[in-house]
């Protein structure tokens, strides 16, 4: 079963999934196998949280799970 997520961030960054560069970018709908995944962003670590463990369920490509990352204001 596939699940779908949408990683949100102010800049266009490649999304890191389970510590591997995924080829997908922020703002793209991303396809994943079901289960726990660790999500982070490529590039400078000027965001929080630095990584998120997610476990999406019941998503579709039309209704992906939003995963927000926030830019650190002090950087």
């Amino acid at each position: 079963m596939n699940e779908y997520i949408l990683v949100e961030f102010d800049e266009n960054r490649e999304v890191i999934i389970d510590e591997t560069a995924s080829g997908y970018y922020t703002g793209d709908v991303i396809e994943l196998g079901a289960g726990t995944h660790t999500i982070s962003l490529e590039g400078p670590k000027n965001f929080s949280p630095l990584e998120q463990d997610i476990n999406p369920s019941g998503t579709s490509s039309i209704k992906p799970l939003p995963i927000p990352f926030f830019k650190d204001t002090h950087t």
Partner: protein, 464 residues
């Protein structure tokens, strides 16, 4: 005096022969992420990934090797992109099992030389007869008395000397070009697929580079009972090695979690790292026991975030899987007798029935997996079109990160139109000995079936 010397020399020789030992895989003390035979980093291949071709070459002895050869010969004769190259040049990965592994590994090592000498070096040889002849050599009787030297080791020696010219995985690395050849065997303990790549050997704390390719191919084609399993040592973990986060997350979810298939994939690998005391060796047999088509390796690398295909999904425009499936359906007479089948028939059926059923499911599985991904992207486009048509808001849906067309072509004897020819091909034996006429027909039918495939012709219209 001379007689005593000769006798002593002979006894010494026989004692040494009795101490024969299979070639042990080498340890790797330090882990290096870029070391060894592994798929190229994504950054190196993005442009050429636009047309991504995977060949899956099935098991089935010489029959499968010859059918695979025919399919590859046809791909070589198929120009694409205005004739600047052929479809064979575009093949990125070959995933192979058993008989198909001979053709795959030979092409990986020697490239187009496959088409000039592989027939003589393998397809038209009586490999089976040569293996039997080796068993009648008295010197080998003493070697076979050793608990660490088996019939399969004689086969490995034969393949190594006469087919693969003693080439190792280092030679595959030195070639430095595509396709990436994934030779698949079956782990007897877990029943899961074991693929000969450095990432697989990293878990064993071992260095694949020094391994003769012949040993991998023999592991992939060690048919149960006829040949013995091939053993590999599981060394202490290389310094700096750890399981991937993908595997760790899969294990954390447990079997009763959201993705039991991912858990089993993770578990079957992890025990050779986390429980080395219980698993100091791994014993491999014919890849057909776990997947006689070779597509499950592709499915795993497409589905899992740590797989080499997953991060390429966003770069691919055309994803093409060509399967050379040499499955047969020999005429069956078991139902004619009232008495139950004898032990030999039952043993053969036990080894092959589940393999055949699983093969059909494997082909459907890879097709379903890829088409779900293709459709997910299409659904967003369809939904956006409906919004554009019926709403004035101008709302834009986020786009899918990947957008590729999927083509799955299965070359299968069941698609041969001439019923007499079809029945002849479906009745071919699984062995390492076929006549030249049989080999030539298999090669020719591989190309013909590809040529008559509707999916293949639709693909060619898009990429020619």
């Amino acid at each position: 005096m001379k007689t005593i010397q000769r006798t002593s020399a002979l006894i010494l020789l026989l004692i040494l022969a009795g101490c024969a030992h299979y070639l042990v895989n080498a340890p790797k003390s330090n882990y290096e992420a870029d070391f060894g035979y592994r798929y190229l980093p994504k950054a190196q291949t993005t442009e050429q990934d636009k047309i991504y071709v995977v060949l899956a070459l099935s098991g089935g002895g010489t029959r499968a090797a010859a059918l695979s050869y025919g399919v590859m010969e046809k791909l070589k004769a198929t120009p694409i992109q205005n004739g600047s190259e052929t479809l064979l040049d575009e093949v990125d990965v070959i995933s192979s099992v058993s008989g198909g592994s001979f053709t795959a590994a030979y092409y990986g090592l020697f490239g187009d030389q496959l088409f000039s000498d592989f027939k003589d070096k393998f397809l038209c040889r009586d490999i089976q007869g040569e293996l039997t002849q080796n068993l009648f050599n008295p010197f080998n009787w003493f070697r076979l008395m050793s608990p660490n030297f088996n019939r399969i080791d004689l086969a490995i020696e034969l393949y190594n000397e006469t087919v693969f010219d003693q080439k190792t995985y280092q030679d595959l690395i030195n070639n430095g070009k595509q396709p990436f050849v994934a030779v698949n065997a079956t782990n007897l303990t877990t029943g899961s697929q074991f693929t000969f790549t450095q990432p697989g050997f990293d878990i064993l704390g071992s260095n694949l580079s020094t391994l003769p390719v012949a040993r991998a191919v023999a592991s992939s084609s060690a048919f149960p009972i006829l040949l013995s399993p091939v053993s590999y040592k599981n060394y202490p973990a290389s310094k700096g090695f750890d399981l991937s986060r993908d595997i760790k997350n899969g294990l954390k979810d447990q079997y009763n979690g959201p993705n039991p298939r991912r858990y089993m994939w993770a578990y079957n690998q992890s025990i050779y790292h986390t429980d080395k005391a219980e698993h100091p060796y791994v014993h491999l047999m014919d890849g057909g026991l776990s997947d006689n088509i070779g597509v499950r390796y592709i499915a795993d690398n497409f589905n899992h975030s740590s797989g080499f295909l997953y991060p390429r999904k966003t770069a691919i425009n055309e994803l093409i899987i060509i399967i050379a499936n040499a499955k047969t359906q020999p005429p069956e007479s078991l139902d004619e007798d009232e008495s139950p089948p004898n032990l030999i028939d039952v043993a053969y059926k036990t080894a092959t029935v589940s393999m055949d059923n699983y093969s059909f499911e494997s082909v459907q599985m890879i097709s379903d997996i890829l088409k779900v991904s293709e459709r997910a992207a299409q659904e967003i486009l369809d939904c956006q079109a409906a919004i554009d048509e019926h709403c004035s808001s101008g709302y834009k849906l986020p786009r899918m990160g990947h957008d590729f067309k999927v083509t799955v072509v299965e070359v299968n004897f069941l698609n041969v139109e001439d019923s007499v020819k079809r029945q002849r091909l479906l009745s071919l034996p699984t062995s390492f000995k076929l006549s030249k006429t049989q080999v030539d027909e298999l090669i020719s039918v591989g190309g013909e079936l590809l040529e008559q495939s509707k999916a293949f012709n639709n693909l060619l219209k898009r990429i020619k």
